[in-house]
Structure formats: structure tokens, C-alpha cells
């Protein structure tokens, strides 16, 4: 007699905990062929608000860490992800379809991307900041700083590599985030949250919501305590993207508009700089 498998219910990741949706709702996640894969929590507006509160709470601590330390933490995430390569490959393949090799390549690329961004933590300030030679006796310098709490609508297609590619650059620079995972392919996102929880990423730095964007995204876009929103996950739905951008204007959120993406391409530094502020400091030079 074959053993009955233990099915996992995938929960949300908020503030370092893994709660069910406060609404109690969940939904069936299907694989690429339409077969049942798992149950996942269906995040409500309230869950989105809770996630923002958790992200805000974590911001001071995370942004206050040294860049070196954030780089170490993100590198640790890469290490742990590498260690769970098989599990991720399985989830990616079942979520996205394609071959096992393609799925493994996506996992490998995700690990490499994390390593790439980890190294950026203590270099980005030197590349985008610097001193300004003002025409008066002042020392004047500009430094990048994280903008704050970032809402990230993760790409719908690329459930792990795309996810890592949008989240890592946001957090490695010191932001905290609320991620609305791919609605139909949420499993790698929740498993990634489990990885984060076991690799020194403080609770609340990355919060993961699963479920349809229609419920969570408007809450995040209109939330006055969210500083920026990445609309990548709304790609292909121009009406939704427009509505979200209009909502985001209410508190002048920094908005990254959706665009076609090639996740395997060299990402450049845009996905870090869009959620960075430039702070310029002046001080007189005198005796």
C-alpha cells in the first residue's frame, strides 16, 4: 500500500511569521497542466495592510544595518537557496512547465542573481553617490538611501528567477518590501520566504502575499505608508497598471511601470536605483 502524501498548505509571510490569511480564505494552485498542486492562502486587503505595517516596522533596523552586513545576509540567502536547489527546481517546473533542466537553470540563475546583488550592497553608494565640487567653501556629498517600504508586484510568468530579480535589488539597498507573488505560480515565492526566514533576513523585510492581484495590489498602490511600487506583475493588463499608477500618485509613490522583461539578461543597476533616494549633505569648510 502506497503512503498517503502529506500535502502542504502554503501560507503568507508577514513580519517573519507565516500566518494564514486573516480572511481564512485559500485557493487551489494548479500546475502548468492544470492539475492540483497545493492550497495557498488568499491574501485579503487586511493582509496587505498588515504586511505594510510589518515592512515599515522592519525598515529602520534593516536600512540601519551596514551595507556589508546586508550583503552578507543576501549572500546567505543564495547559499540556502542553493542548498534547496532540488525543491525549487521541482516547484518551478511544476509551476511554469518546461523541462527539469530549464527549471534547474532558472534556480541556478536565481542563486547567481542573489550573489550578484549581494555584492552590490556595499558598492552601489560608490557608483551612484559621490562628492559634489560646489563653487563655495562647502563639503558636499550625495549618498543613495533606500526609499522605504516598497510594494513589489512580482512577475506572473517567472515564478522564481523573476521574483528574485525584482526583490533582491530592492532589499539589498535597505528597503523593506511587500511582495504580491505571481497569482498562479505562488509556490516558489512562499518557499523563498521560508528560505529568507532561515537565512538571517530579519522578519518583515520581505513579506509575501499570495492570491489575486485584484485584492492586494490596489491596497498597496493606494497605501499612504508605501513609498514605492513596482508594477512589473501587472504587465499585460494596461487598465490595471493605469489604475494602480493613478492610485500610487496620491502620495507620490515612486512607480516602476510594467514592461516586457528578459529575466536571464544582465539586469544592470536600474532595479536598485529606482527605489533609491539621493540625499545631499552640505557642510562648511572652515577653521
Amino acid at each position: 500500500m502506497s503512503r498517503l502524501d502529506v500535502r502542504k498548505t502554503y501560507k503568507l509571510a508577514i513580519g517573519g511569521a507565516f500566518p494564514r490569511s486573516e480572511s481564512g480564505r485559500s485557493y487551489e494552485v494548479l500546475d502548468s497542466k492544470g492539475a492540483f498542486l497545493a492550497n495557498a492562502a488568499y491574501a485579503s486587503r487586511k493582509d496587505a495592510r498588515d504586511a505594510v505595517v510589518a515592512a515599515r516596522k522592519a525598515f529602520a533596523g534593516w536600512s540601519g544595518k551596514t551595507a556589508y552586513n546586508r550583503g552578507q545576509v543576501v549572500y546567505r540567502v543564495a547559499e540556502v537557496l542553493e542548498g534547496r536547489r532540488a525543491q525549487f527546481a521541482e516547484e518551478v517546473q511544476r509551476s511554469e512547465g518546461g523541462t527539469r533542466r530549464q527549471a534547474e537553470a532558472a534556480v541556478d540563475a536565481s542563486v547567481d542573481r542573489l550573489v550578484w546583488y549581494a555584492g552590490w550592497a556595499d558598492k552601489i553608494a560608490q557608483v551612484v553617490g559621490g562628492t559634489n565640487p560646489v563653487a563655495a567653501p562647502y563639503f558636499d556629498f550625495s549618498v543613495p538611501e533606500p526609499t522605504g517600504v516598497v510594494a513589489v508586484l512580482a512577475p506572473q510568468d517567472s515564478s522564481l528567477l523573476g521574483l528574485v530579480s525584482v526583490v533582491a535589488p530592492v532589499v539589498v539597498t535597505g528597503n523593506t518590501c511587500v511582495v504580491a507573488a505571481s497569482a498562479e505560480r505562488p509556490l516558489p515565492a512562499i518557499t523563498l520566504a521560508e528560505v529568507l526566514a532561515t537565512s538571517d533576513v530579519p522578519g518583515g523585510v520581505v513579506n509575501v502575499l499570495t492570491g489575486a492581484l485584484g485584492d492586494t495590489a490596489p491596497t498597496l498602490a493606494s497605501h499612504m505608508d508605501v513609498n514605492a511600487i513596482d508594477l512589473t506583475g501587472a504587465f499585460g493588463d494596461a487598465d490595471q497598471a493605469l489604475a494602480l499608477e493613478v492610485a500610487a500618485a496620491e502620495n507620490l509613490k515612486r512607480v516602476r511601470r510594467p514592461a516586457a522583461e528578459e529575466w536571464t539578461a544582465d539586469p544592470g543597476i536600474d532595479r536598485m536605483t529606482w527605489a533609491l533616494e539621493t540625499k545631499t549633505v552640505w557642510h562648511p569648510i572652515g577653521i
Binding site: A136, P137, Y138, P284, I285, G286, I287
Partner: protein
């Protein structure tokens, strides 16, 4: 007993006597004064320098500036003849114009005081003598005091002393303080009156505005009647921002104690335009009470002729030239 509230407004009000009771108390007080940001102070001075003075105000300012001049000769080659000529010039700067006011004083070495005194007579122009081993101040205290007493005895109305910059810069504030107190005592005449004491900091050697502010308070607490920037022998001598810091100090000192102290920038003030910038600064920083020869002086020599030329231009409408004014 006068109470000095440090300008920081710190809760501790400090007793004047206690401030000077020990080296450490004096240091605590002086180092408790608020700092001076160089760039900000210089920017403020520069802005005041952009004030534009026209017509009646300018005529008033030029005459006031002439009345504030301490006409100075402090050279090894000074002779009685030179000093007599200087005194004549001080009494009647523009012989062609009887409405031209005389200067506040002449400023000479102590040995020239009798000559100056005799020439000036009862003109009202004061005799100021630089004493205390001017300009370096490098002599024993008894010699400095004798230097001072001699000048006072010879009839000096005002004594311009130098502080011991070496002691100040090495932090021996009490020594500097006690020296000023001693010199002020040496200014006393047998009848109980006293020559007025101007204390020269040689701000070019103190270098920082923090030091200038500390020296100002130190000298004021020690009883200086005037605080003065420079000997004229060290560059930089008087500047607008140094004078700004000193004007702020006398203003704050009066707020704290009710006592007014005068300010004298000396050296490097050569043009009428410069002089007017100083007056603007006096007016806006310390206030109009200081716009008086009793409370503000210019230590200068060539400045006087520049003022006279501008004055003549104001009255005649023509620009004048050096040939029309006496050399000294």
C-alpha cells in the same frame, strides 16, 4: 557683583569673579562660549558689505569715520617732527575746510607721547600710546607695566596694549587675564582717573574666530574699555569678519552685564568704502549706540586721506587727487 550669562544660555550663570578664579574656571567659561562657524561669519560680513549707502547717510558716515580715526604712526623712524605733523593733521585734517571734524586720537609709541600731548594741547584729540612691549608683547610683566605707567605719566589718554598671544595660544588664559588687569591698574593716574585701555589681540596670530571670541570675552571680563584687532604689524590685520565677531561679543557682553565695551579694527582699512562697510556692520550688529568715537575707532593712517577725498567729492561734486591733501 556682575553676573555673566554665557551666550549659550546654558543654565549655569557664572559669577564674574568665579570665572577668573582659576585657570580651569576661566577655560571652562571661554570654551563654553558658542563656536563661530568661519564660513557663516564670513558670509554674513560679506552680505553686510553689499549695503549701499547714498547721499546724506554717506556724508554722515564719512564725517563719523573721520571722527573715529586713531591716526597712527608706529615706526622705528618716527621723530618729534613726524609726530607733530601727524598731530596737526589730526586736529585739522582738511585745512581748507573748517567744517571737517578732527580725528579721535593720534596713536604713537610711548616715547612720543610728550610731543603729541604738547602739540595737541586742548584740541580734544586724544593721545593713545601703544604700550606693553608693542607689537610682540614679549617682555617681562614689570617692563610692560613700567612702559604703561610711563606713557600714562607722560599724558597718554589711552593705552593700546597687546595680549600675550603665546600664553593665550598655550591655554594660559589666567595669565593673559591677570596681565590685562595689571595693565589696567597701571593706567590709573595719581588723581584716581584712568587712561582708557584698549586690548589688542593680534587676531592674525589667533587665527580662528573661536579664539577671537574667547579673547574678546577674556579681555572684557578683565576690564578692557576697548577691544582691538591688530597691531598693524601682522597680516592679516583687521578684517570685516573678525570685527563682526568682536562686535557680537561686545553686544552680548552688554546684554549680559550692562557694560559697554568699544571696538577698534586696526590695520588694512584703506578706503572710504571699507570704512563705510565697517560702520554698516557696527550699526546692524552691535547697534547704533556704538556709532560714536567713544565706542568705535579705526586704527589707520592712509585711510584718513581717502575719507577726506570722498568728503571733498561729496561737497564739491568733483573727484579730488592726493595732491590736494597733506601727506600727514
Amino acid at each position: 557683583m556682575t553676573t555673566v550669562v554665557p551666550a549659550t544660555g546654558s543654565p549655569a550663570t557664572t559669577d564674574l569673579a568665579q570665572v577668573s578664579s582659576s585657570d580651569s574656571a576661566l577655560r571652562r567659561f571661554l570654551h563654553g562660549l558658542p563656536g563661530v562657524d568661519q564660513v557663516g561669519a564670513e558670509a554674513r560680513a560679506a552680505t553686510l558689505g553689499t549695503r549701499s549707502i547714498k547721499t546724506t547717510s554717506k556724508a554722515f558716515a564719512l564725517d563719523l569715520a573721520i571722527r573715529m580715526v586713531d591716526l597712527t604712526t608706529l615706526e622705528g623712524q618716527d621723530t618729534p617732527g613726524k609726530v607733530r605733523a601727524l598731530c596737526t593733521k589730526a586736529m585739522r585734517p582738511d585745512p581748507a575746510d573748517p567744517t571737517c571734524p578732527s580725528t579721535a586720537a593720534v596713536c604713537v609709541y610711548p616715547d612720543m607721547v610728550p610731543v603729541a600731548k604738547e602739540t595737541l594741547g586742548s584740541s580734544g584729540v586724544h593721545v593713545a600710546a601703544v604700550a606693553t612691549a608693542f607689537p610682540s608683547g614679549r617682555a617681562a610683566l614689570d617692563i610692560k607695566l613700567a612702559d604703561t605707567a610711563d606713557a600714562v605719566e607722560a599724558g597718554a589718554d589711552e593705552i593700546d596694549m597687546v595680549i600675550d598671544r603665546g600664553a593665550f595660544l598655550s591655554g594660559r588664559y589666567l595669565q593673559v587675564f591677570e596681565e590685562i588687569v595689571a595693565v589696567r591698574e597701571a593706567c590709573t593716574r595719581p588723581d584716581g582717573t584712568s587712561a582708557h585701555l584698549k586690548v589688542i589681540f593680534e587676531t592674525g596670530e589667533l587665527q580662528t574666530y573661536d579664539n577671537v571670541r574667547r579673547a574678546s570675552w577674556l579681555a572684557m571680563i578683565a576690564g578692557a574699555h576697548f577691544i582691538k584687532t591688530s597691531t598693524g604689524k601682522v597680516q592679516p590685520a583687521a578684517t570685516l569678519p573678525v570685527t563682526l565677531v568682536m562686535l557680537e561679543a561686545v553686544r552680548d557682553f552688554r546684554e549680559a552685564t550692562g557694560v559697554m565695551v568699544g571696538v577698534k579694527p586696526a590695520g588694512g582699512i584703506r578706503t572710504s568704502k571699507d570704512a563705510i562697510k565697517y560702520l554698516v556692520m557696527v550699526n546692524e550688529v552691535a547697534g547704533p549706540d556704538w556709532l560714536d568715537p567713544d565706542w568705535f575707532r579705526f586704527g589707520a593712517s592712509t585711510l584718513l586721506n581717502e575719507l577726506l577725498m570722498q568728503r571733498t567729492k561729496m561737497t564739491s561734486g568733483r573727484y579730488s587727487g592726493p595732491d590736494y591733501f597733506t601727506l600727514d
